[in-house]
Amino acid sequence: MAIQFTLNGKPQTVDVNPNMPLLWVLRDTLGMTGTKFGCGMSLCGACTVHINGEAVRSCVTPISTVSGKKITTIEGLSADRSHPVQKAWIEIDVPQCGYCQSGQIMSAAALLAKKAQPSDAEIDEAMKGNICRCGTYQRIRQAIHRAGQLRGAPAKAANLGADENTEQELSARTVGVGGAA
């Protein structure tokens, strides 16, 4: 069954089983693997995407239900890591293994779109659906507050305060997977 929707600002049509969860359409059919599989039951938040601006767990969202809707995934949040949440995540150096971070970032971005300067209690409420097994929660909280400050601020990278002098510069770069024969 052909289903049409908008994916990261572009029209998209897929012809798949209407019951197939959006997660697997993104990952296997469309090859967009930034959205992660964690539990398949809406328990961990690794698969979080935006549907019409709301944070939604794509692992329990049948593809038939997104017909005509606007979907944003981690790949579409910004073209160049310039979304305030991504900037804050880089500034605070949030990720460890990084596997849950697409979902964390999408949940945080949805929160900040509604609430520019969320309180700690509001962060708890919006983020408690996202598990991080590396336990980066303290830095996630810090980065959400920071992203709140960055929203609407000039595009220039913000200072980190006390750490600024000791933190080395980081330019976006590639990490290669080796093992070539």
Binding site: Y99, V177, G179
Partner: protein, 720 residues
């Protein structure tokens, strides 16, 4: 590993790594993540010059650092680049990390195989990486000196250029690399005085963060290959059970399902998407031979352990004569402690991608153990180990689980059967119910307290299954598996009579390395019981430890730092309570003070603050030591508050994150991490701060309620 072995440039490896880096995109070589920068490199540009097994320098001044440890969140990729850059004196902005292939140059000297674990990465790479950087720098200096016709000593290396000091002439590393690579690799180049370090010891941002904020970091589960099919496996719910028979008729009728095949561990369903494979699996009808474990339960295992600890075991440590000392003691205390099996629950479920061809195997693996994966794959595929090529991806968490081989063997078996590249994915339920668990363990302890209030005897009898008996049997010596007794057999307290014995008890549940291994349970046993001793002696738990650790300055260092930062000498606000613990693990030292409040009516607990002190020797990346300590505290806290893998009829009862909850944002305490400055050799931080959390927390609960928590996880009745 000798310096000579470390530094020799293996010709085969030189060609291998050189070709991969230079012509990757041209030949369709696989690269994860954001490869725009590489794609923009002019076609046909010269191959980067390999100065040794870890460092390649391109004509464009790029410095590729081969990372021979798996990056599972612990920040090793960045730490290794920092160590290399310190001696190489390259431009940090030009560094490009790349995961190393599987080759003898990359064998972890701590293990004798290529692999990551045991908090050994910085410790084992420190010397090789520094020496490699220094030797490569020397080769660049020689190349510049030769070009200018000056003495090498008249030149200096800094920030990616060689400078002729007198004339201020400069040549970039990129312009010298090809000539430098032709020099023999020098031996024993003097290493920098740590006082000159500009990179090591400075908080440095992780190199993998940019790829981890836009979805481009490629984990094993993200691998895609041309012609790839997707697989899931139905395994026997009882450990050790086998397929008796199966009917695939309905499964094969599911749209997208291509094959249903029997493999060693169960029945594999192969399809054109992961979801279709999962649907096909639900339609499978499998009959099992459950084997000998069908009646095993958590209760039966606990009873078995209790019986075994009543009998003398293999002696792990004996000092003095504990039995006689008890007879002369003023007071004797006894306690039984117990912990359950625990699952790793990495966020990325187990997976592996294999392509078995007649002449060899390509594997894309989120693995901690490359060498053994290679061996296992070679055996299944019937090829030589050298014909198995492993591409190590990012690991979405490891914690020891990814040192296992189940996902490797299964993906190779399936690919061999269907003659296509196959990606095998575990569901969360598969991952949780078919793991290799932190051993459940049972521990009887006793202490004799002398008339002066100081302990005169300590005994501990442990029963649990052995990790080493399953993984590396020759490591079980005289009935003792060190991982079963660590953090108990080596307690440093000044107690004259000590007996620690061990009953290796096979319970039918596979056990494996789990972040901090034996220290995860034995640290809880020992540091809780030491607190019981302090109570029996009517002494302050911090002062009691401090007195008995007088001969162990690094223990005292972290203990004092944690106590001081937590304000141990100051009273807490009403309703707040705290506990303390200190131990050594993985050659590092940690102490923690946990601050809590307890609502005894509601039987609830809030953890407000965890103050950590760590001594990991010389620190490579301070911000990462902080991050790892925070991470370990959350890992330990999750287990203490929430987690048990329980067994019924030989099956794991937990299925997903609803029955095996992970700590979430709203339960998160404030974590403060303090690092003891040190010039000792660097050691690891990835596991260190897991074990002190449970005892410090339970000691705080005792302070609040007057009741000891002797069984994990903490239950509501423990808080009444």
């Amino acid at each position: 590993m000798s310096a000579g072995t470390t530094m020799r440039v293996d010709r085969r490896n030189f060609l291998k790594t050189g070709v991969a880096g230079a012509t990757g995109l041209v030949i369709g070589f696989y690269l994860p993540g954001d490869f725009e920068a590489l794609a923009a490199a002019p076609a046909g540009s010269a191959a980067p010059a390999a100065l040794n097994a870890w460092m390649r320098i391109g004509a464009d001044d790029s410095v590729t650092i081969l990372i021979d440890k798996s990056e599972m969140g612990q920040g090793i990729l960045t730490a290794l680049c920092m160590i290399a850059a310190e001696e190489l004196e390259c431009d940090w902005k030009k560094i490009r990390p790349e995961f190393a292939p599987t080759a003898k140059e990359y064998i972890n000297p701590a293990f004798g195989i290529q692999g990551t674990g045991g908090s050994s990465s910085v410790r084992s790479s420190w010397d090789p990486m520094r020496k490699a950087g220094a030797a490569a720098r020397d080769m660049l200096l020689q190349a510049a000196a030769q070009k200018w016709g000056v003495a090498k000593t008249a030149c200096r290396a800094e920030n990616g250029v060689i400078l002729h000091v007198a004339t201020k002439r400069r040549l970039t590393y990129g312009s010298l690399a090809e000539a430098a690579a032709k020099f023999p690799v020098p031996q024993d180049v003097p290493l920098k005085d740590p006082k000159q370090f500009h990179t090591i010891g400075k908080s440095t941002k992780r190199l993998d963060t940019p790829d981890k904020v836009n979805g481009r970091a490629e984990f094993g589960i993200d691998v895609r290959r041309p012609g790839m099919v997707y697989a899931v496996v139905e395994r026997c719910p009882v450990f050790g059970g086998k397929v008796a028979s199966f009917d695939a008729t309905k499964a094969k009728a599911v749209p997208g399902v291509k094959n249903v095949i029997q493999i060693s561990s169960g029945v594999a369903v192969v399809a054109d998407s992961t979801w279709a494979a999962m649907q096909g699996r639900r339609a499978l009808d499998v009959k099992w031979n459950e084997g000998p474990n069908g009646q095993v339960s958590s209760d039966s295992i606990s009873k078995l352990f209790a019986e075994r600890t009543g009998q003398p075991g293999a002696v792990a440590r004996k000092e003095g004569d504990a039995a006689s000392a008890f007879a002369g003691a003023a007071k004797k205390i006894e306690a039984v402690y117990e912990v359950p099996y625990l699952c790793h629950a990495t966020m990325e479920p187990m997976n592996g991608t294999a392509h078995v061809r007649p002449d060899g195997v390509e594997l894309w693996l989120p693995t901690q153990f490359q060498t053994i994966s290679q061996t296992v794959a070679a055996k299944i595929a019937g090829v030589a180990p050298e014909a198995v090529n492993i591409h190590t991806t990012f690991l979405g968490g490891g914690f020891g689980r990814r040192s296992e081989l189940d996902f490797v063997a299964e993906s190779v078996e399936i690919s061999k059967a269907v003659s296509a590249p196959v990606k095998l994915t575990y569901s969360r339920e598969d991952d949780m119910q078919h793991g290799m668990y932190r051993p459940a363990s049972y521990c009887r302890m006793a202490a004799g307290i002398g008339a002066d209030g100081w302990p005169v005897a300590f005994t501990s009898s442990i029963a649990c299954d052995s990790i080493m008996a399953r993984r590396f049997p020759d490591q079980v010596k005289d009935g003792v598996d060190e991982t079963s007794v660590e953090a108990l057999a080596n307690i440093p307290y000044a107690i004259p009579n000590i007996l620690v014995d061990y009953q290796l008890t096979v319970a039918g549940i596979p056990v494996g390395f789990w972040r901090s291994v034996g220290a995860s349970q034995n640290g809880y046993f020992s540091e809780s019981f030491v607190d019981e001793m302090a109570t029996a002696a009517q002494k302050d738990p911090y002062e009691f430890r401090r007195h008995l650790l007088a001969k162990f300055p690094r223990h005292v260092g972290v203990l004092d730092l944690a106590a001081q930062k937590a304000g141990w000498d100051k009273p807490l606000p009403a309703g707040r309570f705290r506990g303390i613990a200190v131990l050594t693990a993985f050659q590092s030292y940690a102490a923690q003070v946990v601050e809590i409040s307890v609502n005894r009516t509601e039987r609830t607990l809030k953890v407000h603050r965890v103050v950590c002190a760590v001594d990991v020797g010389r620190v490579v990346n301070p911000t990462n030591i902080v991050a790892q300590s925070e991470s370990a505290v959350v890992y330990g806290l999750t287990a203490a508050l929430h987690n048990a893998i329980t067994i019924s009829r030989g099956r794991v009862e937990q299925t997903n994150f609803d029955s095996y909850p992970i700590l979430r944002m709203d339960e998160m305490p404030v974590i403060e991490v303090h690092i003891v400055p040190s010039e000792e050799k660097p050691t690891g931080a990835g596991e260190l701060s897991v074990p002190p959390l449970a005892p410090a927390l339970c000691n705080a609960i005792f302070a609040a309620t007057g009741k000891r928590v002797r069984r994990l996880p903490i239950r509501p009745e423990d808080l009444a």
